[in-house]
């Protein structure tokens, strides 16, 4: 969906004229105070149920949506560059949600991926976006993207990110990022050509966290194409925006492009426990679709204790956020799944299995991943875990939440004790032949074993 000029200008103007609020006040009073008030108002305190990590209570999800809506109206977004609050009233938010598409496409030709609103327990196939922006060395970037593009379950390309540009270290917020905007688009095109998947939609720009990757790559010759690729806008936590975000939106407007809006809430952070993070994620999502005119995206929960979202509290919060959004809007919402274990480990696949199944039954239109090894190590990513996660995501569409909850409770004991100290696993070059782009026998055997296990646990994989 191309951006409406008046709405964009309204956002920019409010970022410069809204009520002043210092960040410390925002983080310690406005956010926790507003969320706590609405948790109490809708009787949501202590509702997280770790024994049932996949929520099945529709009324609970709906009350969380109301609490999220109230929080969005009462708090708004904080622009950290102007220290002003961008506020929308309830009618404006409802109009913003109404204007968001319930269906749109990325990519072109035979690689068009259709994003459609999905209901809870919906059999409609979701869209698998891979991978997250995990750092790769320059020599392995194209082989990795080619390997990922060869995975048939992958519909759209987001990452990975590249560490160096023509041998020089890429520094955030510097001219290197402007250059890498176009470099990444060209490298992706080359990898997609090698994989026979030219036309696949892409995110601009995985390597660059600041605006420069978008300014240097989106809508330029050889770069990302606005008619088929999407601008990645990631908001600072909690419920904040920045000039970086606003510049990306402005470039998307200039190019008639579309916008993905993402953010997250940390369980244990500014919003509090899992219930608070759930409210924050819903509120932030509503504000991003309203303010950023997003076509895809959402805010998702993350657990501060292990920096992932495949443990019980985070799974519960994640499922509840997406059920609340799915049941009360027609948005094409996207989540990110944050695994902690690395490639060539059973744990990475078990985390993926439970997390992707949760999203499949909770109404997510799409998901971005994997964050192998928590995204901490250069080259710790491989196409096989991406294939596995995509298979789970698509083949679990249509399961009931009760079935999924039962499976989750069988699989969680296989990895949850290790969430604080996950195995690092193996790098791409260790678990793959990077010439033929095939996994080692050891990694393939782990994949086969875990797939058997999850099928035995009740997951409908083929």
């Amino acid at each position: 969906m191309a951006l409406d000029r008046d709405r964009l200008m309204q956002l920019l103007d409010r970022a410069h004229t809204g009520p002043v609020c210092e960040q410390f006040e925002w983080d310690t009073r406005v956010i926790p105070g507003t969320i706590a008030k609405n948790l109490k108002k809708y009787d949501l305190l202590k509702t997280c149920d770790p024994k049932n990590p996949i929520n099945q209570d529709d009324d609970l999800a709906d009350r969380f949506f109301q609490a999220g809506m109230d929080t969005a109206v009462e708090a708004g977004l904080l622009c950290i560059d102007t220290q002003r609050r961008i506020q929308y009233n309830r009618e404006e938010i409802k109009a913003g949600l109404e204007a968001a598409p319930s269906e749109f496409t990325l990519g072109e030709g035979k690689e068009v991926a259709t994003f459609k609103y999905r209901d809870v327990e919906d059999p409609t196939l979701p869209v698998w976006i891979s991978p997250l922006s995990i750092a790769m060395t320059e020599d392995l970037f194209i082989p990795m993207v080619e390997g990922i593009a060869r995975v048939p379950e992958v519909d759209v390309l987001e990452g990975p990110s590249v560490e160096t540009l023509w041998g020089s270290t890429i520094r955030a917020g510097s001219p290197y990022e402007l250059l890498v905007g176009r470099w990444q688009a060209e490298a992706n095109h080359e990898a997609l050509r090698r994989a026979g998947r030219e036309g696949m939609g892409m995110f601009a720009t995985g390597t660059s966290p600041t605006q420069y990757g978008v300014l240097g790559g989106y809508g330029l010759p050889g770069g990302f194409k606005p008619e088929r690729d999407i601008v990645l806008v990631l908001s600072p936590v909690e419920m904040k925006t920045s000039y970086e975000n606003l510049l990306k939106l402005s470039q998307a407007y200039n190019c008639d492009g579309t916008v993905y809006a993402g953010s997250w809430s940390m369980i244990g952070g500014y919003a509090g426990g899992p219930e608070g993070a759930t409210v924050s994620c819903i509120a932030c999502t509503l504000l991003m679709y309203t303010g950023y005119q997003a076509s895809n995206g959402a805010s998702f929960p993350f657990d501060m204790r292990y920096m992932g979202n495949c443990g019980r509290d985070a799974l519960w919060a994640l499922g509840t956020v997406f059920q609340a959004l799915s049941r009360n809007t027609h948005l094409c919402v996207n989540s990110v799944l944050n695994q902690t274990a690395g490639p060539a480990t059973e744990m990475l696949l078990y985390e993926s299995a439970v997390g992707m199944m949760n999203l499949a039954v909770s109404g997510a239109t799409s998901c971005t991943g994997t964050r192998s090894a928590g995204g901490k190590y250069t080259n710790y990513l491989s196409p096989l875990e991406i294939k596995f996660a995509g298979e789970v995501f698509k083949q679990c569409a249509g399961m009931t939440r009760a079935q999924a909850n039962e499976v989750a409770n069988k699989l969680l004991p296989l990895y949850e004790a290790q969430l604080g100290h996950p195995p690092k696993g193996q790098s791409f070059a260790e678990c793959y032949d990077v010439e033929t782009l095939t996994p080692t026998d050891e990694w393939q055997a782990i994949y086969d074993k875990v797939k058997d296990e999850v099928i035995k646990a009740g997951m409908p994989l083929r």
């Binding site: 990110s161 560490e163 890429i170 520094r171 955030a172 920045s242 190590y377």
Partner: protein, 226 residues
Amino acid sequence: MSKQDVLAELHEALIGVAGYDEVEEIARGLVAEGTDVLAAIDVATAAMDEIGEKFAAFEVFLPDLMIAGEKMTRCMAILQPYIQATSDAKASARVVLGTVSGDLHDIGKNLVATMLTVAGFEVSDLGVNVPPLEFIKAAREHKADILALSSLMTNSLPYQKEVIDLLTEMGQRERYYVIVGGGPVTPEFARQIGADGWAENAAQAAGLCRQLIESGNTPPVTTVIA
């Protein structure tokens, strides 16, 4: 009100719902009444330990910790001059911290700032997206002992190295311990860029800083992993 009552009131104000003004008022009252300032600091430190433990158990969350940390900072600003005037106690070590250039993430940085404050360090928080030279200027201005550099983005990691390289080029490397942390920062990376320390989380960062200060070694030191 007895001395014990006043100290109990300070403890409650630091971890409870009292506002910043109320904490400052109690601290000023303690000083005016001639209460043993070191005893007051012991009480305040115990209160901070208590809230740190509650955070570790997820009984309270980041905003509660940040508010308690701010109260502690304000309380210490009133008590500190009297410690130096009335005892030979060593002044607390100073830490300048921030998230490096190109990176707007602040949760981890705020958590470390709070845990360091709670642990008794004097903390100057430069915020996010801080250019390398600003760290060095601030370290000089605040007479820092430690520079703490946070980064969550892979492409902002090079700026952690640039701070260390700049210190070396400016002949100031031996003046400050440099510690690094954040999602993609590994102990291997810390060693590789010549940092003095790395810690896995905020609580360990406080222990790491204490360890560095107590070592008395001149930086750069062999990387300490907390």
